[in-house]
């Protein structure tokens, strides 16, 4: 019967997608064909003005989009939806030289790609404080920190021990004490241990990982981990205010099975309910301080089965994906991606159930609270609910993947737990974001739909296509879709912060803050020194010359070039690219970059400023002369 229900839902979903795509694909053409009237001109003009930001004017919000398997972060402006910057993190980016100079190469640790999903802005008392942006790498099991002072990646932590597929990351606790991370693909731990999937239930383990953030400088370190049953942990969200000491992680495959030859999509969809895992992190922290941990893979690992009282499972319909917490911290919203509802759990009732041990039993040692004891409502939002964000008027917005729509419902006030409105988007929305919509004080007005497919809603660009970002105006009684942008693959989630919260963003590094001992500030001090087979070059760049402009060396020499951009003017970026060599970079004004490479190709190789800088930019060049080996 359960199986039948699942197939019914799947069939309906497929039908809905097909119907939707054929119904609204290329709206313009369809309108022309059917002679149907489009929106009136006044309406178009009204909508256009909502996103129009005249040249020279600034957007009201920054949007930080994860770049998916591009490994980068994209910065957009809202409401204009203009792409302003790409911040390279896990992938090489010749436009700034990320992944080409020594410092970034060392940070990337030999990997030149990552899969970043969930950006998280640092918070103080549940509000964005504008200090750092954290971003996970699902593939490499890493977390990176970007400073919002200069929009540069400062640290990449990981790979996290014992965690395979760090998907449920990097969600901050409400004072940025910890960043949550969790295993999406359970494995035998520590990493490197081999056990066959036949022994999946016994030998494979899930891990929830807490990363500590230094409140002064943001330095991240692995704090502790929780060993869990071999379920697949999907997403997480920290509590706030009353629930500030807790965080929540969803899981699917609570069947804890992985069968050789049988697709997980079947085995993991057997049960009617999976779990939202509730973790009292303050409690776990205390146990860890007491030393109640085992060391596995170099991490302090806490076992909630041995020490009960801190980790609980809440049954949630069905293969829940996103878990979100209302701005007041009182309700937990579980989105069962294979059920047409979101489930609302009451945090205070959860505390009581835990206190009264109101459990229906345990699953693999984790106590399961009785669903009816904690669940306040189920809201029939539609097919495939994934994530929920909030506005300033007591409404919540849930993305519906299967239905390709956004559902609006009321979580606070009058019609609590009632559906209010629904709007279709093109197509297959994943995450959803709103201005400061996951904080204790959402700002409202906009909802951003992060759609997975752009299918035909832009000029044809061949088989590889962008995704679609759609801006919905939520200020009126009905939601209104007013703009579509097409980002590079592939934003999963976004954080939207009021622009004025980012104060004193630097555009030029002051000389005093450049701590590089090889920084050179006067072209007169630019020089070359040889030490055995190593040739060191202290280089300066300022409009419009590179000094030294001739480097002589021998084939096979190890070259180390310290390039300092000595400009003090914003946006006076100078590139350093060497023809024929895999060397490129763009030091910012006041920054020093170090490039190390072997001069293995004899000949004369021009190097030049790659980043347009001035009227005499073309003249900003030099020669690397590599004398061939004597034969």
């Amino acid at each position: 019967m359960k199986r039948f229900k699942f197939f019914l839902v799947a069939a309906l979903a497929t039908a809905a997608i097909v119907a939707f795509i054929t119904a609204t694909g290329d709206a313009q053409r369809r309108r022309a064909k059917e002679g149907e009237a489009g929106p009136s001109k006044t309406e178009v003009v009204e909508d256009a003005l909502k996103t129009y930001v005249p040249p020279g004017d600034l957007d009201e919000y920054y949007v930080f989009l994860s770049g998916g398997h591009s490994g980068q972060i994209f910065v957009y402006g809202l409401p204009s939806m203009r792409h302003i910057r790409t911040i390279p993190v896990f992938g090489r980016y010749p436009a700034t030289g990320w992944g080409y100079d020594n410092k970034s190469k060392e940070m990337m640790g030999g990997l030149t790609w990552g899969d970043c999903h969930h950006p998280g802005l640092s918070e103080t008392k549940g509000l964005y404080d504008g200090r750092w942006l954290f971003i996970n790498d699902n593939a490499g099991g890493r977390i990176a920190r970007i400073s919002l002072r200069d929009f540069e990646c400062k640290q990449i932590l990981g790979p996290l021990p014992n965690v395979a597929g760090n998907h449920a990351s990097s969600f901050c606790t409400w004072n940025t004490e910890y960043l949550i991370g969790a295993t999406r693909f359970s494995i035998p731990i520590p990493k490197g241990t081999v056990a066959d999937v036949k022994d999946y239930k016994q030998k494979y383990k899930g891990v929830i990982s807490a990363t500590k953030v230094d409140p002064k400088d943001g330095t991240m370190s692995v704090a502790w981990q929780i060993v869990m049953p071999p379920w697949d942990y999907d997403l997480a969200r920290a509590g706030k205010l009353v629930s500030g000491d807790w965080f929540f992680v969803t899981c699917y495959n609570s069947e804890a099975e992985f069968v050789d030859g049988k697709p997980l999509e079947i085995t993991a969809s057997e049960r009617d309910k999976d779990f939202v895992i509730a973790v009292n992190w303050k409690g776990v922290e205390k146990e860890v301080e007491k030393g109640n941990v085992t060391e596995i893979g170099g991490a302090k690992v806490f076992d909630p089965v041995k020490t009960p009282g801190y980790v609980f499972a809440i049954p949630c319909k069905k293969s829940p994906h996103g878990v979100d917490v209302t701005p007041d911290g009182k309700y937990i919203v579980g989105s069962g991606k294979l059920a047409p509802v979101v489930s609302i759990f009451n945090f205070e009732k959860l505390l009581k159930a835990v206190q009264d041990k109101n459990f229906s039993g345990d699953d693999m040692g984790i106590p399961v609270v009785k669903a009816e004891a904690v669940q306040d409502a189920e809201i029939p939002v539609g097919l495939g609910p994934l994530h929920t964000v909030f506005d300033d008027k007591g409404f919540a917005y849930t993305s519906l993947f299967v239905e390709s729509a956004v559902a609006k419902w009321q979580w606070q006030g009058g019609q609590q737990w009632q559906m209010v409105d629904k709007i279709p988007v093109q197509y297959n929305i994943g995450h959803i974001a709103s201005p400061e919509g996951d904080t204790v004080k959402p700002l409202g007005h906009w909802v951003l739909a992060l759609n997975k497919l752009s299918k035909g809603t832009h000029l044809n660009v061949g088989p590889h296509q962008p995704e679609s970002l759609q801006l919905i105006d939520t200020s009126g009684p009905k939601m209104k879709l007013i703009y579509t942008a097409f980002p590079e693959p592939e934003p999963h989630y976004a954080q939207i912060i009021k622009a004025d919260k980012l104060k004193d963003v630097v555009e030029v590094y002051k000389k005093e803050e450049n701590k590089d001992p090889n920084a050179t500030w006067d072209p007169k001090n630019a020089r070359i020194e040889r030490d055995g087979n190593t040739v060191k070059v202290w280089m300066t760049q300022i409009r419009s010359s590179i000094m030294p402009n001739v480097i002589r060396c021998n084939e096979g020499d190890n070259l180390i070039v310290y390039v300092t951009n000595i400009e003090e003017m914003r946006n006076e970026l100078h590139g350093f690219g060497v023809c024929g060599y895999d060397v490129t970079g763009v030091p910012a004004p006041g920054a020093t970059m170090t490039f190390e490479f072997v001069a293995d190709k004899p000949g004369v190789w021009p190097y030049y400023c790659t980043n347009f800088c001035s009227a005499l930019h073309q003249e900003m060049q030099g020669y690397l002369i590599v004398n061939p080996k004597q034969k």
Partner: protein, 207 residues
């Protein structure tokens, strides 16, 4: 009579102090606005050195940027090494000392010399500024990458130069000197008045 003597001394001492205080403030400044620099550039000249205008934090750039732009057209660098910054400070200090001497010695000829000396300094200073600006705009390196016709940079008020609009004006460094000069002239006038009165009263008493 006594009140007059005290007044002239006070005026001259204040003038000396104003001259010294004027070192703290720019004498002259220039803002350069263009579409390349939406917030503008600002440079200023003190008696002792060239530098950025005090509001540099709100601007796109200052003296360094002006020099970078100037080097393309072969203009000389506006630097601390210029002769004027070696000559002007000791000359102004000499004027301040002369004021103090005149404050002590109550003679109309010394306050007259004081006025003349300062007038000469002022005229010389203006001429130097004018000459320097002229030189900067005309003594261009023939090997410069960009060749422009020689020009006179804006001395005062609004001017246009290529895509730049420049605004130049004097500042407190100069204003304080002007006030000091006025005080010196008043002191001299007081001396003139009191010496004439003295002569009259002498003539009366001899009658």
């Amino acid at each position: 009579m006594k009140a007059m003597a005290v007044l002239r001394s006070v005026l001259l001492i204040v003038a000396a102090v104003l001259i010294l205080v004027s070192f703290k403030y720019p004498m002259w400044y220039m803002y350069l606005d263009s579409n390349n620099f939406p917030k503008g550039l600002g440079m200023a000249i003190w008696a002792t050195h060239p530098g950025d205008t005090p509001d540099i934090k709100e601007l796109d750039g200052g003296l360094k940027e002006v020099n970078i732009l100037n080097h393309y057209i072969g203009m000389k660098e506006i630097s601390q090494g210029m002769t004027v910054f070696k000559v002007l400070p000791p000359v102004l200090v000499s004027a301040a000392i002369l004021c103090l001497i005149a404050a002590i010695i109550r003679k109309k000829w010394i306050s007259f010399i004081n006025v003349i000396w300062f007038a000469l300094i002022s005229a010389g200073g203006m001429a130097t500024l004018f000459y320097n600006l002229y030189q900067f705009g005309h003594d261009l390196d023939p090997h410069a990458p960009i060749k422009v016709a020689p020009f006179m940079p804006g001395f005062y008020g609004e001017h246009t130069l290529a895509q730049f609009t420049t605004y130049s004006d004097f500042h407190w460094g100069t204003y304080l000197l002007v006030i000091a000069f006025v005080l010196m002239v008043v002191a001299w006038a007081l001396d003139l008045v009191s010496s004439r009165r003295a002569a009259q009263s002498q003539a009366k008493s001899s009658n």
